[in-house]
């Protein structure tokens, strides 16, 4: 299909959060991160100078071929990386600044190695390419990028759910009680993301917990270098700002007012005063009275823990601790103080049960972790580590080496280079390659592994799903609780309820809905947002609307009189509760208007007053990596036209959004709907959206279809020729479905179709369609239906294999002496393209110059393969070193292959039935391609499959595609002119189409038996249904053996299909044999076909280990050409020194092994032999 540029915009939109986050990292993130790495200081006592080292000016270059040669700077393209099995990386450089006491800094350029580059990011060559250019760059026309190529393998970042940043959450955890004596299980937790001047962030986060104690006080807990430290909250409050006990007391008690007690929205209680006293008493008990006292106390406490500050005054240490670990998102200490007060209020209200705990499993309190962010914080840690290492290296040198010139930058650099800076990028690359973080601090993340996954291109839907997937976190996968897996209403519209795997990762691995986006650093014009300006304008708007701005020493009133306003985790003031609704409505207006400075993705999290509900307040978020989705704001007059509002999961909970499908949804008149869903299918993911009429199916069937769509053997790649993937499944002649949903065209699935429109008859015809088996028409298969191939690539790299010494002497060449494989291997040692290679035949030959021998490589497996393509590496100088040989395995349908419709109706082909024996229609002469059993329907209730059959029949008769978008009937524009008659049902609509073409209204037809030519006794439901061929095929799975390889020790058959092993005949199988009394079969399976062994047993001593076969020296002469008489076997027992009493006994070989093992433990096993009873 000819597509002009921008045709795949919808697809690009699906992966945008990956690319945006990477782009930001390259654009700004790295620079901000480097600027905020603390300089390391090295002091030289000899010269009495100190040197401070810091980094600046990071650059990542576009990928270039062969970094070493300066002359040959060619572009390294992604397809080359895939084929050559190398990584798509660009050079990462930065300046290291050397600054000697007050002198100007000396900048030295450092190469930090090859940094992985995301495809289609700003550094990628594919970024600006249109589909035509992409094809000429040997990519898919619809390539969307968003992944990395590492060693030729495509890997995607697995997005993770994170606790919502900068939002205090009240939580109950049993483990909190065990922290220390006196703790309760209640706490308020906030994950703060570090922010510097002018609202710049490097994404590193620090979690601060405020624990409630049984005595009414609270402790602040935060993590420093992998350990949690607890401080009394009073000390922290006093240390943060210059304040008095009275101020703290007033701040804490301000939320309680007798007037409002028991009223809606009152959160304070009488106990506040008591608690405030306890908190202040604690401080007094430690005889800390002033801010300086508290800072001194904290400083002394943390001096040994924090490095770079060893010799500083406790005051500076305390200051640094509060700055770096306490509410790191707020640079201002007054803001920290106000937030601490707010959190205490929330904690006390939570303890008093005037507000409910926040659910950490609900999407309301969650964000997403994006690749760029993780890479930034990981890189930050690695760079800090490198600087520390550099420091210790230089210091070592200073003490050890007297000639070392500390003042010469060159010398210092030489010492520093012992710890190669190139390892920095290698660490990032290996993080992306393995998905594992190698970190000491844990980076405030919950898991160490599983950050990336391989983006398999089994089919396009599977590939696409990797980018839309969001994982809850590996730590939950092992847990026995199921509460994290629950489908919560909060995730409506953001995470697809249908598209989650069943089984082990169910509910943990979710997929974003097709309209769900993630907020980024870039605005819609692609310009980096300035959060400082944005916040300033929000603040301006709020104050103009009557917000009392928060100021030092100003005591704010609490709910229900006024609500606190938090902007990205900063308490910016309070709004009278009478005004708040108006303010929220106004903010929403500003959000959608293009002229205001308020960003369109701002989240207005208004938590209204309630009795014992969520803690009230106005929580405004502007930061990136939040989920957002578009809805229509219907409270805005339509003439303004801009009514698409982006909402987040936090605010959604408290909004009134109506869905066209749900009517008014039981909404009372007091709370009219202010927003409306754009379309009911917005709650589904891309894959779930492709199921036709999924609203007519039983819900689990749609889930199964989402699974099976991703297992379909489909048209996975158009650029097949330029790929060197391990395994590619490929459907030879795919078709576009006749019945399709709106999403099908929107996401250009036609570029990679996944199935075939098969004529399906629903009848029980031969008995071969029982139990989900299905009969394929042999002639249809003969004509190419469901034909396919598996492409498998073998990479042979001569520099990888063998010992180091003979690497350079090996090359591809065929043997001149051995001509047996000349029909298979060409003179260059590589196979002929198109050649069929049978198992155990050679497909290439490697020649060794020194030994003058050539070693062929043989094909493993049990089926022939065809050489599809041979790609050679032309880069190397003398002769080629690296070769990709792609084999093709034909995979045409045979008995045992798996197929499925798009409605979770899977089945296994049980017969390829001759065409003439298939039932046929008397009118059209049609024979079905496929027969399924009617029993597949009643219990599964996949009505949509029946509808699909009807619609496809009508569609093919009329020559048009049928739209099968689910819930379509609810959004049909109500025709004003049309009378309000009962809308026609879908079946009637489709039936009409059939009837006009002379077919039965219900899609049934009279069929005749193909065998007898007589009319079948009932009418048969027949029509085209889009069928998918699943990748599970017998040819890859069958396992059979009579005899074969055995285990060396036990002589029992080995396991494993690849090695020609057997299938375990286990205990349960044994039980069933016993139950049937099938003794002979049992003996056959467990003994004769296993480790049958005849042992010589000495009946005198009863041992089987002492018997020994003695070779006979007697020569038997040939007598008259007759075969020699076999000498009688002579077995002697060494223990008894005689051959008398030697008997042969059949036994399992493991029994002998057991005897030997026992003997090794000095246990003798004796057998008492007797014959008969």
């Amino acid at each position: 299909m000819a597509k002009k540029g921008g045709e795949f915009k919808e697809l690009e939109e699906l992966v945008r959060h990956h690319i945006d986050s990477f782009d930001y990292m390259v654009d700004r993130g790295l620079e901000i991160m480097l600027d905020n790495i603390k300089p390391v200081r090295i002091y030289d006592p000899h010269t009495d100078t100190s040197l401070s080292l810091y980094l600046s000016n990071p650059r990542i270059n576009a990928p270039i071929k062969d970094v070493r040669s300066r002359t040959n700077r060619k572009r390294l393209l992604p397809f080359e990386c895939r084929q050559a099995k190398v990584s798509y990386t660009g050079k990462f450089e930065a300046d290291v600044c050397f600054q000697y006491d007050g002198r100007p800094a000396i900048r030295e350029k450092y190469n930090f190695g090859q940094f992985p580059i995301m495809l289609k990011s700003k550094l990628c060559y594919l970024r600006s390419a249109d589909p035509q250019q992409l094809v000429s760059l040997k990519e898919e026309a619809s390539e969307v990028g968003g992944y990395f190529i590492l060693n030729g393998i495509e890997r995607v970042f697995r997005c993770l759910i994170m606790p919502k940043q900068n939002y205090p959450m009240s939580m109950t955890r049993g483990s909190y009680r065990e922290r220390r004596e006196g703790h309760t299980d209640k706490a308020v937790v906030i994950r703060c993301v570090r922010e510097y001047q002018s609202s710049l962030t490097d994404h590193s986060s620090v979690t601060v917990r405020l624990y409630y104690l049984r005595n009414g006080s609270a402790r602040v807990g935060f993590w420093v270098r992998g350990r949690e430290y607890l401080l009394p909250v009073g000390i922290v409050l006093k240390a943060l700002v210059e304040t008095t006990d009275r101020e703290i007391y007033e701040n804490l008690t301000s939320y309680y007012d007798e007037k409002y007690e028991k009223l809606k929205g009152a959160v304070g209680s009488q106990l506040l005063g008591e608690r405030a006293k306890i908190i202040l008493d604690e401080v007094r008990a430690a005889s800390l009275f002033t801010q300086d006292d508290c800072l001194q106390h904290i400083g002394e406490h943390f001096q040994p823990v924090v490095d770079e500050l060893e010799n500083k005054t406790p005051y500076t240490v305390a200051h640094a601790v509060l700055k770096d670990y306490m509410f790191v998102h707020l640079p201002n200490f007054h803001d920290k103080f106000s937030l601490m007060i707010f959190m205490l209020q929330k904690l006390f209200s939570f303890v008093d049960q005037t507000s409910a705990p926040d659910n950490p499993d609900s999407l309301q309190n969650q964000d997403i972790l994006l690749p760029g962010h993780l890479m930034t914080i990981y890189l930050k840690e690695k760079l800090e580590e490198w600087l520390r290492k550099a420091k210790s290296l230089v210091q070592d040198e200073l003490t050890k080496n007297n000639t070392f010139n500390f003042l010469a930058v060159g010398d210092v650099r030489k010492v520093m280079d012992k710890n190669s800076p190139v390892t920095i990028s290698t660490a990032v690359e290996s993080m992306l390659r393995s998905g594992r973080l190698a970190t000491q601090t844990g980076l405030d993340l919950q898991q160490r592994a599983g950050y990336t996954v391989q983006a398999e291109r089994l089919n396009y839907l599977r590939f696409l799903s990797f980018f839309r997937a969001v994982h809850r976190g590996a730590s939950f996968a092992g847990g026995r609780t199921t509460s994290v897996r629950k489908l919560l209403p909060e995730s409506w519209g953001f995470l697809c309820p249908v598209h989650t795997p069943d089984g082990e990762p169910c509910g943990l691995l979710n997929h974003m809905t097709c309209f769900c986006r993630v907020t980024s650093y870039f605005d819609s014009q692609g310009v980096v947002k300035d959060f400082f300006d944005i916040r300033k304008s929000i603040l301006g708007v709020l104050t103009s609307l009557g917000m009392i701005a928060s100021l030092p020493k100003l005591v704010q009133a609490g709910p229900p009189k006024a609500l606190s306003v938090l902007l990205d985790g900063r308490v910016i003031g309070s709004l009278p509760s009478s005004e708040i609704e108006k303010v929220v409505a106004h903010l929403r207006r500003l959000k959608v208007s293009t002229t205001s400075a308020i960003p369109d993705d701002m989240e207005v999290g208004y938590v209204p007053l309630s009795i014992g509900g969520a803690y009230p307040g106005l929580y405004i978020s502007t930061y990136p990596s939040r989920f957002i989705r578009p809805v229509r704001n219907i409270s805005i007059p339509c003439e303004e036209r801009q009514d698409i509002e982006l909402i987040g999961p936090f605010e959604q909970v408290f909004m009134e959004i109506k869905c066209p499908d749900g009517g008014n949804g039981g909404r009372s008149n007091a709370f009219p709907a202010t927003h409306e869903e754009l379309h009911p299918t917005n709650m589904l993911s891309v894959v779930a959206n492709l199921t036709p009429w999924s609203d007519h199916n039983q819900s689990p069937r749609n889930m199964y279809q989402c699974q099976m769509a991703k297992q379909t053997m489909a048209f996975s790649l158009q650029s097949l020729r330029f790929r060197a993937d391990q395994k590619i499944y490929h459907l030879q002649t795919p078709q576009t479905p006749i019945v399709r949903t709106g999403a099908y065209m929107k996401y250009s699935i036609d570029e990679h179709p996944t199935g075939t429109n098969a004529i399906v008859a629903v009848l029980a015809y031969t008995g071969y369609d029982m139990e989900d088996a299905m009969i394929l028409n042999k002639s249809s298969v003969d004509r190419g239906m469901f034909h396919g191939q598996i492409y498998q690539t073998e990479t042979i790299d001569l520099s990888d294999e063998g010992s180091r010494s003979d690497r350079s002497h090996r090359r591809f060449r065929r043997s001149n002496t051995d001509r047996s494989s000349h029909s298979l291997i060409d003179s260059d040692g590589l196979p002929y393209v198109g050649q069929i290679i049978n198992p155990n035949e050679a497909y290439c030959s490697i020649y060794n110059d020194i030994t003058n021998t050539s070693k062929p490589k043989y094909r493993k497996g049990s089926e022939p393969a065809i050489v599809d393509y041979v790609a050679v590496d032309t880069k190397s100088k003398k002769h080629l070193q690296k070769v990709n040989i792609r084999f093709r395995h034909p995979r045409n349908p045979i008995i045992g292959d798996k197929f499925s419709s798009r409605h979770g109706q899977k089945g296994v082909c049980s017969q390829l039935w001759p065409d003439i024996d298939m039932p046929f229609s008397g009118v059209t002469g049609m024979r079905p391609d496929l027969i399924i059993n009617p029993h597949a329907f009643p219990s599964r209730m996949t009505i949509a499959m029946l509808l699909e059959s009807l619609a496809a029949k009508g569609g093919s008769l009329n020559g048009n595609f049928v739209d099968a978008t689910p819930f379509a009937s609810t959004v049909k524009a109500p025709n004003a002119g049309e009378a309000k008659s009962e809308p026609e049902s879908l079946v009637d609509e489709l039936g009409k189409m059939l009837k006009s073409k002379g077919f039965n209204h219900h899609g049934v037809e009279v069929l005749y038996s193909g065998v007898y030519g007589t009319e079948l006794t009932c009418e048969i439901f027949i029509g085209p249904v889009y069928y998918q061929r699943l990748r599970h095929m017998v040819s890859d799975k069958f396992q059979v053996r009579s005899t074969g390889p055995v285990d060396q020790i036990t002589r029992q058959p080995i396991k494993g299909r690849k090695r020609g092993g057997g299938i375990r005949f286990g205990e349960m199988e044994r039980d069933s044999m016993l139950a049937h009394g099938a003794a002979y079969l049992l003996h056959d399976r467990l003994h004769t076909c296993s480790d049958y062994h005849i042992a010589d047993v000495c009946s005198i001593c009863g041992s089987i280990l002492t018997t020994h076969y003695q070779p006979q020296r007697r020569i038997v002469r040939d007598i008259g050409g007759l075969p020699p008489v076999k000498a009688p076997k002579k077995v002697v027992c060494h223990a008894c020194q005689t051959s008398k009493g030697i008997e042969t006994v059949a036994m399992p070989y493991v029994f002998r092994y057991l005897a030997a093992e026992l003997a090794a433990m000095n246990i003798k096993m004796t057998l008492h032999l007797n014959d008969g009873a």
Binding site: G834, G922, L994, V1011, Y1012
Partner: protein, 323 residues
């Protein structure tokens, strides 16, 4: 026991005949005969199709098996097929299947040297036997239609080539039957239906109003009945359009007029529709099928008095001998 002769003499009446289409009536026989004829036409009338492909050069986008498969499905003119030998029992070439008695050789050479995509079609196949060529679908009567002309003139597309791509191959076509592989099936569609016998209960019909009559007529998806404009009576316009879907009977019952209509399938007359792939003419297909049916019956008859036949057919053998 005196054996009764069940011998009947089926009659055929041809209704419509084109090269690739035939419609005829088969009367005075039963379903077994009709179905046997259908089955033989689909699966046992031999044709010639490409069976072996030796690929010399293939730099096209399609892989070798795909092209070989496509070549196999191209219908070849197979008038010769009945007289040809199966290569498996050809004694001239010892089962090699490459002699002139049992095979036809084809050559294809195509290379794209321009920037225009080159369509390699069945017209590019060069046959060693002028009697066996890819079927020409261009309709000589349609010469004046330029669009139709170019579309069909080019034949069946095998593969498309871009600049620099080449396809060179040798193909061997052999005789075969549809039972072995669908490519040897000469029939696109063979179907038959029982001739319906429709009786309208005129008395009951007269009790209906005109609207009721019309809605009753409408209930049939195919145009079987119509109303006589003059007499306003329901008349059968096309009994063979009836698909045995029972819609009109159900409708009559729903109207409370059980027995309004009586439709029966005649047990002994069939209307056949035969569509050929073009390998052989539809009329020839029927004749060949009858010929093969006869051969098969001969095979049974000739073996009827052997002991093996008794083993093979059991009681049926006795029955066949007239027992």
């Amino acid at each position: 026991m005196e054996s009764v002769s069940y011998q009947r003499f089926p009659k055929i009446k041809i209704r419509e005949m084109k090269d690739d289409y035939l419609k005829f009536e088969l009367r005075e026989t039963d379903a077994s005969m009709a179905n046997a004829l259908r089955r033989v036409m689909i699966a046992e009338v031999p044709t010639i199709a490409i069976d072996l492909v030796e690929i010399e050069v293939n730099s096209s986008v399609l892989n070798d098996e795909f092209i070989a498969h496509r070549l196999g499905l191209i219908p070849l003119t197979s008038e010769r097929a009945m007289g040809m030998r199966f290569s498996r029992d050809c004694d001239a070439c010892d089962g090699d299947g490459q002699c002139e008695y049992c095979s036809v050789e084809f050559h294809l050479r195509a290379k794209c040297i321009t920037d225009q995509t080159l369509d390699v079609t069945s017209k590019d196949l060069y046959s060693s036997d002028h009697a066996v060529t890819p079927v020409d679908f261009s309709d000589p009567s349609d010469d004046n239609d330029p669009f139709e002309h170019t579309e069909t003139q080019r034949g069946i597309i095998i593969v498309k080539l871009r600049r620099g791509q080449e396809l060179r191959l040798r193909a061997i076509a052999r005789k075969g039957i549809g039972k072995d592989h669908a490519k040897w099936s000469p029939a696109a569609t063979v179907t038959f239906m029982y001739e319906p016998e429709i009786h309208i209960n005129e008395d009951l019909m007269e009790t209906l109003t005109l609207e009721e009559k019309l809605s009753w007529i409408e209930s049939s998806p195919t145009k079987v009945f119509d109303i006589d404009k003059v007499t306003q009576q329901v008349v059968v316009v096309d009994p063979e359009a009836y698909t045995y879907d029972d819609e009109v009977i159900k409708k009559a019952e729903a109207m409370g007029k059980r027995g309004l209509i009586d439709i029966r399938a005649k047990e002994d007359s069939f209307i056949f529709t035969v569509e050929s792939t073009g390998a052989i003419k539809a009329s020839q297909l029927v004749l060949n099928a009858i010929e093969i049916l006869k051969q098969k019956l001969d095979a049974v008859r000739l073996s009827d008095d052997t002991v093996e036949a008794d083993d093979q057919f059991g009681e049926l053998g006795v029955h066949m001998r007239g027992g």
